[in-house]
């Protein structure tokens, strides 16, 4: 081939190079084949997956809290509502000179120096397009001043937020509850919960109906870049404002009832005996729910938490008291049902009953003489019920009490309800590993000893007794589907219920009735009921032998609780009530008048304002 150039060796060399070049070229082609396969994998096979990832990258959802629904009473009076509160933020990148801007702002609405320092600090750390809040909780007037100078204030943003207010204040605090900022334990992964403006229900109705009240946050789908700046809006969902929750509660009755307590502590419940609607749920003392939405201070919180009369506890549903003589109606029913007594059965009350070595006293030391079941309830004779309890035993009493809703939670739509306690033989064995003593049956027969009930349970018990034996459950909503709509009828004979109901009328109507002086003085609004006095301290045998101290001779925390359960009107019962005045003394003297006033006003308001 060569005429004058390279030698043969060189030709062989060139040949070798081209052969090896082919190998190298093949390897390089192979490399590109690998790349092509990878492209195919990423861009064809897995394209969908990466498309989703790309969208997740760039699409961000921004939420705006929906305005929280109102809570109103049965007549539409607001119990929880919103007030617009204004707030100012500065966007550092839009402000020409942040320090000068803050100075100008400070002249319109004062800015604390340390807060100003924090704003400048934040402006240095955050991205320049993120607004920094300088003022919150401004009034409309202050905001108007700022808005008027807005050409002078580049980068200043005004935003409105809702602030929760409670017009009835402490009157309905336990029922309505309060809202607060989202705590760590409330986080469920729902991104809405991470919004700083969001307030969620922490107690009461605010908590139970939080979902409905909260509504649906507005959602804005926005495209953001890698540092989070919004580039454009892709989609907007206006969300839904929270629903208004209408309660069966009558705020005026609630206010009136609270005033009846004066300085006394305790609880009262008024409910509709047919629907179970709770129209008053009073717990004294109370607290101001307005302290909570912006975060309660530690000092205030400690004061509320440690107050001796427990203002934070809803005593109407969480206070557990010995029901005292209000329990006797159940013992009477259990006795009648068991056949151990009839309406005609009489026992003699001499003021004391001896059982083995024990002596059981009647509140009337002189004795009631010979009494039947009607008289025993009317005069609240202890000896009669000792005798019934001795004959039928604790288990029959407990069974009857449970049928009337005692001993377990009724399931009212409020957090924190307590179950009370109805003891029986089984319970005692489990709890103390001891057999039940007959004497304990006697004590339980007059609603003392282990027996505990909440005011709500006592009201529900009374409702079931006088509504013809419907299994009614208390509920807070004023809706057609009442939580307490009767599903069932109690398995108690109508005849026995009638005896008890008539005896309750006797309590307030007959001269010897324990609450005769508290009868409602309107013919058509009259009430029936039962008094109760529940002993807080134990009376020793020695004290019995000398002289039992009168209540006003005792320190306050040792005085008896005063109770009353009742209903009205007597001809066609509509409302049930329960009242407990802590350490108030006798039920007839302290609790019955409150109950009478509550029932009277409840009935009058019904005739005046027929709810829609």
């Amino acid at each position: 081939m060569n005429r004058n150039g390279p030698d043969r060796q060189s030709q062989r060399q060139l040949g070798r190079i081209s052969r090896r070049a082919m190998l190298l070229g093949a390897a390089q082609l192979g490399g590109f084949g690998l790349l092509a396969a990878r492209m195919y994998q990423l861009q064809v096979l897995e394209a969908d997956r990466y498309a989703v990832l790309a969208d997740e990258n760039r699409i961000n959802v921004r939420f705006a809290v929906a305005s929280r629904g109102m809570i109103v009473d049965r007549f539409g009076q607001p119990l929880a509502t919103n007030r617009t509160s204004y707030r100012i933020a500065v966007v550092p990148e839009e402000a020409e000179d942040l320090a000068a801007l803050l100075d100008r702002l400070d002249r319109i609405v004062p800015l604390a120096p340390e807060h100003r320092q924090r704003v400048i600090e934040l402006a240095r750390r955050q991205r320049a397009f993120v607004p920094i809040v300088t003022h919150s909780n401004l009034t409309w007037k202050e905001i108007a001043h700022v808005a008027a100078r807005s050409p002078d204030l580049p980068g200043v943003e005004i935003a409105a937020t809702d602030e929760r207010v409670y017009p009835t204040g402490e009157l309905c605090a336990h029922v309505v509850g309060y809202v607060g900022a989202v705590a760590k334990k409330d986080l469920t992964g729902d991104p809405v919960l991470a919004l700083p403006d969001l307030r969620i229900g922490k107690s009461g109705v605010e908590r139970v109906y939080d979902d409905a009240l909260r509504g649906e946050a507005a959602r804005r789908q926005v495209e953001v870049n890698a540092v989070g700046r919004v580039i454009r809006e892709l989609h907007r969902d206006p969300g839904k404002p929270g629903a208004t929750v209408r309660l069966a509660l009558d705020a005026e009755l609630q206010r009136y009832g609270a005033s009846l307590f004066g300085e006394e502590t305790g609880a009262a419940v008024v409910m509709d005996i047919h629907s179970g609607e709770v129209i008053a749920l009073i717990s004294r003392p109370s607290f101001d729910p307005g302290l909570f939405p912006d975060g309660i201070s530690q000092v205030n919180w400690d004061r509320l938490l440690n107050a001796p009369n427990a203002p934070l506890v809803d005593k109407a549903i969480a206070g557990q008291y010995a029901p005292g003589s209000t329990f006797k109606m159940l013992v009477a029913l259990a006795g009648l049902e068991s056949g151990q007594i009839t309406p005609k059965t009489k026992f003699h009350c001499s003021g004391v009953l001896e059982l083995g070595k024990g002596r059981f006293h009647c509140w009337n030391r002189g004795g009631h003489g010979s009494v039947d079941v009607h008289d025993a309830i009317v005069q609240s004779c202890d000896i009669y019920f000792y005798e019934v309890a001795r004959r039928i035993g604790i288990d029959r009493i407990a069974d009857m009490a449970r049928r009337f809703g005692l001993g377990s939670r009724l399931g009212i739509d409020l957090p924190g309800e307590q179950p009370g306690l109805i003891p029986d033989k089984e319970w005692k064995r489990k709890r103390f590993d001891r057999p039940w003593q007959i004497g304990e049956s006697l004590v339980a027969g007059i609603g003392q000893g282990y027996v505990l009930a909440t005011p709500l349970q006592l009201a529900a018990m009374t409702a079931r007794m006088v509504n013809g034996g419907q299994l009614v459950r208390p509920g807070l909503l004023a809706e057609s589907a009442h939580p307490g709509q009767a599903e069932d009828t109690l398995t108690v004979s109508a005849q026995a219920l009638d005896i008890v109901r008539r005896a309750m009328i006797g309590v307030t109507s007959e001269p010897k009735g324990t609450a005769a002086s508290s009868q409602i003085p309107h013919e058509r609004l009259r009430m029936g009921g039962k008094t109760g006095t529940s002993q807080v301290r134990r009376i020793s045998q020695r004290e019995r032998r000398q002289r039992v101290l009168r209540n006003d001779e005792l320190p306050r925390q040792e005085r008896d609780h005063a109770l009353f359960v009742g209903f009205a009107p007597i001809d066609a019962p509509r409302y049930a009530v329960s009242v407990i005045v802590e350490h108030g003394g006798g039920g007839s003297r302290v609790a019955a008048p409150i109950a009478a006033d509550l029932l009277r006003v409840a009935q009058m308001r019904l005739s005046q304002n027929q709810p829609t």
């Binding site: 060189s10 060139l14 090896r20 790309a54 990258n57």
Partner: protein, 391 residues
């Protein structure tokens, strides 16, 4: 198109019958216009992507890149039309100059974190890029001059090892692992082409494997180790070193078959993708033009390499063949490593996509490299043999 057959082959001395090989016009007509066309196409795609990367603007990248490309093309043709013999003669001198620049960068280099550039006033020069060219030149010259019978002796490998080792270590110090590895890979490829026995390659590979753990321990920087570890397990650091590769794969994959359209790439336009105008520019292309765009780009690159192989086959000297193949391999390594890197097949090392990524030095050195190849195409690599025995 190519008046190749007009002149008698292998004839330096006797002038052609139809044209005067000495005339500039004659040389220009003998340029490989296929190669030039593909280079222009590739660079053109680069301008378009840089235009898109700036959100539809010639500023700040695409315009400057086009200007540089124009200058580079003039330099390429100049290099091509100057006598090929000159490059053979000055190969070692060019190497020495490049090495001098590389040493200079040790003392006067500019750059953040790593010293890679020399400021020339109008542009920053990256001596490691020019070194690739110079190394291929020097090695081609070395193997050309080697007596064929000596090729297979181990001692003949010492000069290439030194020629490669010094710049590789210097580059590694900068630190620039990617370029250092490319230098070594180039030397290996050239040695392979020159005809070293198979078993010696096998031995070399075994030694390299054995040296791997030592290099890991002593030669690599923490961040380089980090990159390799992250490459092996990208979930290890999704916000740090793994972020790049994750975002790049999202960009590539979400492009799908046909892409999101010109200037429509969300990953890159919303700056999730780092270095979108340099090392990760292929991701932007793949996101906006999809699988077909990616394949088209790969096809152009293969076409360019193919042209080089065709030129190589026509060259009549060891120097020319080794030089052309070495430069083609350099181009291949750039493209392959860059694309494999953005696809998550290789660890992230700073290797640009040739002629496409924004950057002055790599553009100019690549085009000068193509100038050498074109020069070989024109002159067919006719060179005197100057065997100097190495004992």
């Amino acid at each position: 198109m190519r008046p190749a057959r007009l002149s008698p082959r292998f004839s330096l001395a006797s002038p052609a019958a139809a044209a005067d090989p000495a005339s500039l016009w004659y040389r220009v007509t003998r340029l490989d216009w296929w190669l030039i066309g593909l280079i222009v196409a590739l660079a053109g795609i680069g301008f378009a992507i840089l235009y898109s990367a700036a959100d539809g603007s010639w500023q700040p990248w695409a315009g400057k890149q086009a200007l540089r490309f124009g200058i580079g093309m003039v330099m390429m043709i100049a290099v091509a039309t100057i006598s090929f013999t000159l490059w053979w003669r000055t190969a070692y001198l060019v190497y020495a100059l490049a090495l001098a620049l590389l040493v200079m960068v040790e003392f006067t280099g500019v750059g953040e974190g790593s010293q890679r550039w020399i400021s020339l006033g109008f542009m920053n020069l990256q001596p490691s890029e020019t070194m690739k060219l110079a190394l291929v030149l020097a090695l081609a010259r070395y193997f050309h001059d080697l007596d064929e019978n000596q090729v297979d002796r181990i001692v003949v490998l010492i000069p290439p090892a030194v020629l490669t080792g010094i710049p590789a270590l210097l580059v590694l110090r900068q630190p620039d692992l990617g370029t250092a590895m490319i230098l070594v890979a180039l030397a290996v490829a050239v040695t392979f082409l020159a005809g070293l026995a198979w078993w010696k390659f096998a031995l070399g590979a075994a030694l390299t494997a054995a040296a791997g753990p030592l290099a890991w321990r002593f030669l690599l920087h923490d961040y380089q180790r980090d990159r390799v570890l992250t490459f092996l397990d990208p979930g290890r650091d999704p916000h740090g070193a793994g972020y790049h590769i994750l975002q790049s794969k999202i960009g590539l994959g979400s492009g799908g078959l046909f892409g999101k359209g010109f200037i429509g790439g969300t990953q890159s336009q919303l700056s999730f993708l780092p270095e979108k105008h340099t090392d990760f520019i292929f991701t932007l292309l793949a996101e906006e033009f999809g699988f077909f765009g990616s394949i088209l780009l790969a096809a152009i690159i293969i076409g360019i390499i193919g042209c080089c192989y065709a030129i190589m086959m026509r060259c009549e000297s060891v120097f020319a063949r080794v030089l052309v193949l070495g430069l083609a391999t350099n181009f291949f390594l750039y493209a392959f490593i860059n694309m494999a890197m953005v696809m998550g097949l290789l660890p992230v090392v700073g290797v640009p996509l040739p002629l496409v990524s924004y950057g002055g030095t790599s553009m100019l050195t690549l085009l000068i490299g193509f100038g050498f190849i074109q020069s070989a195409a024109i002159h067919r690599g006719r060179l005197p043999l100057r065997h100097r025995g190495i004992s």
